[in-house]
Assembly symmetry: C2
Homo-oligomer: 340 residues x 2
DNA sequence: TAGCGCAACGTTACGGGTAACTCAACAACT
DNA sequence: AGTTGTTGAGTTACCCGTAACGTTGCGCTA
């Protein structure tokens, strides 16, 4: 025990007085050895503290690795943390491991990470988002491994897509708010250097609002993270710039909570003075006395499904390439009740 | 391009009309080749879409891998997500990758994960918590790689410890609340099968409260996750069981928020009717109109420091084995102002 | 012009494990 | 006794990249 150097299979074999191959057979439970031999090998495995070297097994070529590369924009956003949790837990039940990559919402970071992680021969990749750099796309195609793109549903994915239709989710919220009689609506979100799901939601939202005769009078895209405080000061900025906004749609719930708190601090009554709507349905909503108008998505389930689909794909089961997780509009009580 | 099979170095070499070794030298920028040769090799690398196989490099024995195994209890808890973000971002700047393991707060899960991840020859491990199963401890010792234990500071770590003194942080809060005249205090938290940091905080808290002549009259340990809703119904249970509690200390801020919302719903005035204190200082606090009494810890910094220490250790720099990140008590306004 | 140094490149061996094959010993038949 | 089959175990080749060493051919010096 407690050797400084790694214990190899040959050392175990030698100590047990058998060949490497026999030891290998015992460890893989392959059969073709006597009970006596098995006992001798296992005794040495125990005594020497042998741990198999999976690198060598993968290297030998016959088996794939149990790595799954998982790219996530950032973990400060609670919803992505939930997605990752869903992925890793589910992968774990299949004996697979996540190799994490935080891309900070940039395609360049993603590309760099993809290049590195592919050099480790992962069994597959799970990527957040449908947009990738040209080089990344080429590498993914050449890699010959399953790629699951999550978050925004993609009707023509590289391989498989798991997510929701963000355009529709924005559209539904726009239609809902318009149906309540809101005409002049504002938007508070953040901007990134790539087209992303939040933009899709905004597009859908605008289309519905304008289709109903309303207008998204002001779109504020902050250069900041999509968290509580930017929601707070973004609301301040928006209201300072545009007086007659009746309702604000936020990129996500965290920002909406920030807005809610700003209004509370300024003595603005929600929903009488102004309506507030978010997206994502954060866990904290479960304890708020007032339900935030939002859109529920099961982020954990999204992650789990992505992992399941990946596993199915790796075991060569037939898999459809488009998985809609669905969403549910939450009317809430931070917007007014009926047309007015 | 777009081969189905992996492109190997020999294929590149053959296509370029040189030996494997020459191609290898070119790719590693090692020198010992003509400009003409370099150009021919690189042209084939490009044309064939060759990606190096790091498994083979590590396997060749001279270099270690760039994997760092990172075990985290769960990501539903926002603070751990922040820690992980700090770790992975910092590792990324050094060209290292996190291999994630969610242990769900159980030593058995951790042990299983350690066994698996060690078989991938990681360069090091970052583990949350100071308690590990006996087998895990033995494997860690035999592995001969750096191990950084984070979260609760450990004066005699396996290798290196990065975190804070949870006992002290609980003690400080206990002393603070006692100094405000609170005598009968309740606690709401969750229970796990292992001694953990939250327990340490509670121990320190009780010691301080009792040392000041007060009493922790009721300790509620729910069999649930330490999130918003358990904080909500835990508060209900605690108040139903014990009428004369003046103040409640929660395992973390999420539970404290749940408690805050319960009180608001029941018309209980905080802090006049009851005091509320949490731990961890969640981001959402930045937008609340009332500051939650809590304890600030820079979770992101904790993760970053853990990664930095790991990198220093791997480059054989001298590293002290105990890194205190520190904490800061936040008086807040959810407890009363002065003794009374 | 032999002798030497060096740039440029090739050859071999190795690492840990596994597939495919070979081989020896022995039992159960005809 | 000779044939066949079964069982247990060893041998060889291979996966991909790199260290260590060997080889070639050129230019320069004495």
């Amino acid at each position: 025990m407690s050797k400084n150097k790694k214990v190899s299979l040959s050392q175990v074999a030698q100590a047990a007085g058998v060949s490497k191959m026999t030891a290998s057979r015992v460890l893989r439970d392959e059969g073709g050895y006597s009970e006596d031999t098995r006992a001798r090998v296992m005794a040495q495995v125990d005594a020497l503290g042998y741990l198999p070297n999976r690198l060598a097994t993968v290297f030998a070529g016959d088996q794939g690795s149990t790595f799954i590369g998982v790219s996530i924009p950032d973990l400060g956003n609670e919803v992505f943390a939930q997605v990752l949790e869903g992925i890793d837990r589910k992968l774990g039940t299949f004996g697979y491991q996540s190799v994490l990559g935080l891309t900070q919402h940039t395609l360049q970071e993603e590309e760099n990470w993809i290049r590195t992680v592919l050099s480790w021969q992962p069994a597959g990749l799970i990527l957040t988002g449908r947009y990738h750099s040209a080089r990344a796309t080429e590498m993914l195609r050449n890699a010959g491994i399953p790629v699951v793109e999550i978050w925004d549903l993609n009707s023509s994915p590289l391989d498989i897509s798991v997510g929701i239709n963000h355009f529709d989710s924005g559209f539904d919220m726009g239609r809902y708010l318009a149906s309540l009689g809101y005409g002049k609506i504002g938007y508070v979100g953040t901007s990134h250097d790539t087209a992303n799901a939040a933009t899709e939601r905004l597009n859908g939202f605008c289309k519905a609002v304008e289709g109903a005769g309303g207008a998204v009078v002001k779109q504020l895209c902050l250069h900041d993270t999509a968290t509580y405080y930017p929601g707070f000061y973004g609301t301040e900025q928006l209201l300072a710039a545009t007086k007659d906004v009746e309702c604000i749609y936020y990129q996500n719930d965290a920002m909406a909570f920030g807005g809610l708190q700003y209004c509370a601090g300024k003595g603005l009554n929600v929903p009488n003075d102004i309506g507030i709507a978010g997206w994502g349905d954060l866990p904290i909503a479960s304890v708020m006395n007032r339900r935030l108008t939002s859109c529920h998505v099961s982020h954990l389930k999204l992650g789990q499904r992505a992992a399941e689909v990946m596993m199915a794909r790796l075991s060569e089961e037939p898999v459809t390439n488009c998985h809609d997780i669905g969403f549910r509009l939450i009317p809430g009580s931070t917007v007014r009740n009926s047309g007015g």
